[in-house]
């Protein structure tokens, strides 16, 4: 139960470097499906560098909360990422918290993101905060129930143990519990990362935006941390999804060969999930705000069915 400093540093680096790439791949994929050439996949890195270098304009109504929020968003997503097994079964920070702490940290980031939206006194920010908190609130029970389903099967909320339990010989692709819980979590992923059909990450249309509305007053390095935090959160949730339900290829030992294979498998799995997100985003239209609860209650029902199937197929 010791903390492995190398593992922490390596996973931090991997998280920070991979997160913008995933956003870039999804953007590129969407462009290709729309018959556009699209920006290169490393465009998000260039954006981050540009934001970091720029001067900042801060609203005269804003308080210290506005400046504090980007760091909270960034750090909570990063810390949450250190609790998820990425390439090794043992996550570097799983002693400090499991899946409950992960959800808690992401919620802390969201709390300050929403406050940062309200702080500059703009109506858009308030609108974004209100919608973000509403959608998060109705997504939360589905998220937790899907997580409980796997946590109960593993007898632990520690993600390393959950992954180790699913990695066992009983893993099969069409385990009904896994399929249902995966579907539920995937819907939650779409909602939590602000994807179509819940929110449109590419829009600046004033009355439909949610995440963008909260960032409207941010500029310069604060914006960089906000964007980076958002893509980190997306990566964390995707990793959770792929490694909990498809733990294939995760390295149980830390030999260089096993790690390299595991990293390749992980990247391949991320690519598959990103592609599914691309297809969903391209083939669907954004839902009206008051239709989103229907989608999320479908996720809740799926998670409840997953739980029920634990009960039935034992």
């Amino acid at each position: 139960m010791n903390l492995d400093v190398t593992a922490i540093i390596l996973q931090t680096a991997l998280l920070l470097l991979l997160a913008p790439l995933v956003s870039g791949v999804i953007r590129k994929g969407k462009a290709r499906l729309q018959n556009r050439r699209g920006p290169p996949v490393w465009q998000p890195y260039l954006d981050l560098r540009k934001f970091l270098r720029k001067d900042m304009v801060i609203s005269e109504h804003a308080s210290w909360i506005f400046s504090f929020a980007p760091y909270v968003v960034f750090f909570t997503a990063l810390l949450a990422g250190l609790m998820v097994p990425m390439v090794t079964v043992q996550a570097p920070l799983s002693l400090f918290g499991g899946v409950l702490a992960l959800v808690g940290l992401l919620a802390l980031g969201r709390f300050f993101l929403a406050l940062g939206g309200l702080d500059p006194a703009s109506a858009f920010g308030g609108m974004g905060s209100s919608r973000e908190m509403t959608i998060a609130a109705i997504a939360e029970p589905a998220l937790m129930l899907a997580i409980f389903t796997v946590a109960i099967a593993a007898g632990s909320t520690d993600l390393s143990r959950i992954v180790a339990a699913t990695l066992g010989p009983t893993w099969s692709l069409l385990n009904p519990r896994h399929v249902l819980a995966f579907a539920a979590l995937f819907i939650v992923l779409l909602a939590e990362t602000g994807r179509i059909p819940v929110d449109n990450p590419a829009t600046h249309l004033e009355l439909t935006m949610i995440h963008e509305a909260m960032l409207l007053e941010y500029s310069g390095r604060y914006l960089a941390f906000m964007e980076w935090g958002a893509s980190l959160k997306q990566l964390v949730l995707m990793t959770l999804l792929v490694n909990v339900f498809f733990p294939l290829g995760l390295a149980p030992v830390t030999t260089p060969a096993a790690l390299a294979f595991s990293l390749l498998a992980y990247l391949a799995k991320l690519f598959v999930v990103s592609s599914i997100v691309v297809v969903v985003e391209t083939t669907n239209a954004k839902l009206r705000l008051f239709r989103v609860p229907d989608l999320l209650s479908a996720a809740f029902v799926l998670a409840a069915l997953a739980l029920l199937s634990t009960f039935l197929f034992q």
Partner: protein
């Protein structure tokens, strides 16, 4: 419990009496009354904190002897107290919160100078602290009920302290009526216990339920649930709570929400875990279901409020629900014979009890400072206070993060323990009942997320953006003693969040007393830096670890700044206003607007109504005058309490015929009743 701690405890009780007397003696000199009464209360509460911590830290020894406070003059009525671990834990709670509130009151009560009689106020405040402490410590049914009634009466007097306001008078009456319905249930419940034990001492009640027949035992369960549930504010017995808490002066609101509703939790714990013996399954299920419903509905109603203090009052209902989820799960585990899990769930409930006491009192104190500065409780008229009241804003923010169950503060820790016990509970029984555990866990998640939404609204609308009224623009920071009181509770929030394993050590004697085992060695890993579930493989969490990790990551943004952003300048500019001529506060989002999506999603529950009246000259889009009204229906009030009220009125109107004012008729009633009773006795 050594001699010193016992003596200190007695001194604490005497100190409250002295505070009350001093307050009454200085009726004419309000400054002196303020300092004497609240100073005495603060000192006594400090004594209570020290006494209860030393008592609990001494661990679970032999049962402490009971102490006689006053000579017993009437048979059965013994004025005895027994500082056992459960009682001491709740004494710690009332003393800690009481200390902070007393310090705060030194500054807050200045607002009453020249308007109200502070001597009386201080005296009532001391007596209510005394009575609440005695409720937790008393060792005899009659003494308990006397302390309970004194507590209820003094709180009623404090609620209607500003009796020139009609709202305060009505709130006081509602509280008074509900409280006495509860006391009635308690008396009946205790009489049922007395039938089995033959004594009114609490030591004779221990595990008495095992010797009772199923009928009276279940009846006692329900009576206590109603009796203590009214005080705790469980749904559907909660209606007095969102009325009475906001109407009271803010220090009293903090006292009520922080401490007095916890007497209900104390009573339930005492009766169900100490007196009633091994519970049948439906008890635990009932408590868990009531807890879940109270938690979800409490937070949903809180979201609809734009009165800052009413919003906080509804959150008390939510948190009582979360506490009951822990207690209900503990009862279910006791039924299935899992003492470890039962202790874990009990710890989760009790930990959340002290957490809620601390952060809710903190939030009410903050709200009190804001209300005093802005002269309104309506959030729509606040805003921008983070710049005008920076310290209060910071304390309120800490309280908001804590109550939203976000790491690294205390609310997260107790909810984490609750989640752990619910998840582990899935394996305790093979029946379908076990699905309740993850489902109520999911409802707890919903509650937490809605609470976060509600406190984004409460903090964001109250403290951020532009001031929405002239009062808010002229607001000033609260008096220093008020800040000291809030700061103390803020520190308690941080401490309870970062060092849970130390607090769990204090809870050891309590679980030893109620469930027969001590859990803190199992729950703390790595010298107490890491908190673990009941089994170490079940999951671990470490708040200090996370905080330290975040600190270790700080060089990261610093390095990025050094590499990229050193030349970047920061400029202040106006917020984007879509090209209009300047942003006015009226353009900012309102509290009502913020919660509108939730109001629409849960419209089956809220049944929102709105009325818009436009006056316009040529086109409805250019209104000259606009009137907007929006209502949310309180289902329990309109569907249960109003019809019941109406029924009572009707029946009493019929009964009027009996009460004709004729003495002969009354004598006949008495005679007939006597006859019937004699027949019944045969």
């Amino acid at each position: 419990m050594n001699q010193l701690a016992t003596n200190l405890l007695l001194l604490t009780l005497l100190g409250y009496v002295a505070g009350a007397v001093a307050g009454l003696l200085c009726l004419r000199a309000e400054r002196l009354a303020n300092y004497c009464a609240f100073g005495c209360a603060a000192l006594s509460a400090l004594g209570g904190v020290v006494a209860s911590v030393t008592g609990l830290a001494a661990g679970a020894g032999a049962a402490p002897p009971s102490l006689q406070l006053l000579p017993a003059l009437i048979p059965y009525v013994q004025f005895t107290i027994r500082p056992d671990p459960l009682g001491l834990f709740f004494t710690l709670l009332v003393s800690l919160v009481g200390l902070a509130i007393s310090l705060y009151s030194l500054g807050y009560a200045r607002g009453f100078y020249g308007r109200k009689n502070l001597g009386v106020f201080g005296a009532f405040f001391n007596v209510s602290l005394l009575a609440t402490t005695l409720v937790f410590l008393s060792d005899n049914v009659f003494f308990f009920l006397i302390a309970w009634e004194i507590m209820a009466l003094t709180t009623w007097l404090l609620v209607s302290f500003e009796h020139e306001k009609e709202e305060a008078r009505n709130a006081g009456v509602l509280y008074f009526v509900m409280s006495h319905i509860g006391t009635g249930c308690l008396i009946l419940g205790f009489l049922l216990l007395f039938r089995a034990s033959g004594t009114y001492g609490f030591d004779g009640f221990h595990a008495i339920g095992a010797r009772m027949a199923a009928g009276p035992r279940n009846a006692a369960f329900v009576l206590f649930l109603v009796g203590f549930g009214i005080k705790a504010g469980i749904i559907p017995l909660h209606i007095w709570l969102p009325v009475a808490h906001p109407a009271a002066p803010s220090n009293v609101s903090a006292m009520m929400s922080g401490v007095i509703i916890k007497t209900g939790i104390y009573g339930l714990t005492r009766v169900y875990f100490d007196f009633m013996g091994p519970p049948p399954n439906w008890w635990g299920v009932t408590v868990l279901v009531i807890g879940t419903i109270s938690a979800v509905l409490g937070v949903l109603y809180a979201l609809m409020e734009h009165d800052l203090k009413r919003l906080l009052a509804y959150h008390s209902i939510e948190n009582i629900g979360i506490i009951l989820m822990g207690l209900g799960a503990a009862l279910m585990f006791l039924h299935t014979g899992h003492p470890v899990l039962a202790s874990l769930a009990l710890i989760a409930g009790l930990y959340h009890t002290i957490n809620h006491a601390v952060f809710k009192a903190l939030l009410f104190l903050g709200a009190g400072a804001v209300v005093q500065a802005t002269h309104t409780r309506n959030m729509e008229e606040m805003g921008g206070l983070v710049k005008r009241m920076p310290a209060t804003a910071f304390f309120f923010l800490i309280g908001a993060v804590a109550i939203s169950a976000l790491p690294p503060l205390n609310g997260f820790v107790s909810e984490w323990l609750t989640y752990q016990s619910l998840l582990q509970g899935f394996g305790t029984t093979p029946s379908l009942i076990r699905l309740m555990f993850p489902l109520s866990g999911a409802m707890l998640a919903l509650t937490g997320a809605l609470a976060a939404a509600c406190f984004v609204k409460a903090f964001g609308i109250t403290f951020l953006a532009q001031p929405r009224s002239a009062h808010a623009a002229d607001a000033h920071e609260a008096a220093p003693t008020m800040l000291v009181g809030q700061g103390l509770l803020t520190a308690a929030c941080v401490f309870l969040g970062l060092f849970p394993t130390l607090v769990l050590k204090l809870l050891d004697p309590v679980t030893q007393q109620l469930a027969g085992l001590q859990l803190s060695p199992r729950l703390s890993l790595a010298d107490g830096w890491v908190l673990s579930g009941a089994v170490a493989t079940g999951g671990t969490v470490s708040m200090p670890g996370l905080v330290l990790m975040a600190v270790c990551l700080l060089p990261l943004p610093l390095g990025l700044w050094l590499v990229f952003a050193r030349g970047a300048k920061v400029r202040r500019g106006p917020t984007w206003d879509c090209g209009l001529q300047g942003l006015t506060p009226r353009m900012a989002y309102t509290a009502t607007g913020f919660s509108k999506p939730i109001r629409m999603i849960f419209k089956a529950l809220f049944r929102p109504r709105r009325e818009v009246q436009r006056e316009y000259d040529f086109s409805p889009y250019f209104a000259t005058n606009l009137r907007f009204e929006s209502h949310v229906e309180e289902l329990f009030l309109t569907r249960i309490y109003r019809p019941m009220n109406w029924l009572v009125w009707r029946v009493s109107r019929r009964m009027r015929a009996l009460q004709a004012g004729s003495l002969q008729a009354y004598l006949i009633y008495i005679f007939v009743t006597l006859l019937l009773l004699l027949l019944f006795a045969l």
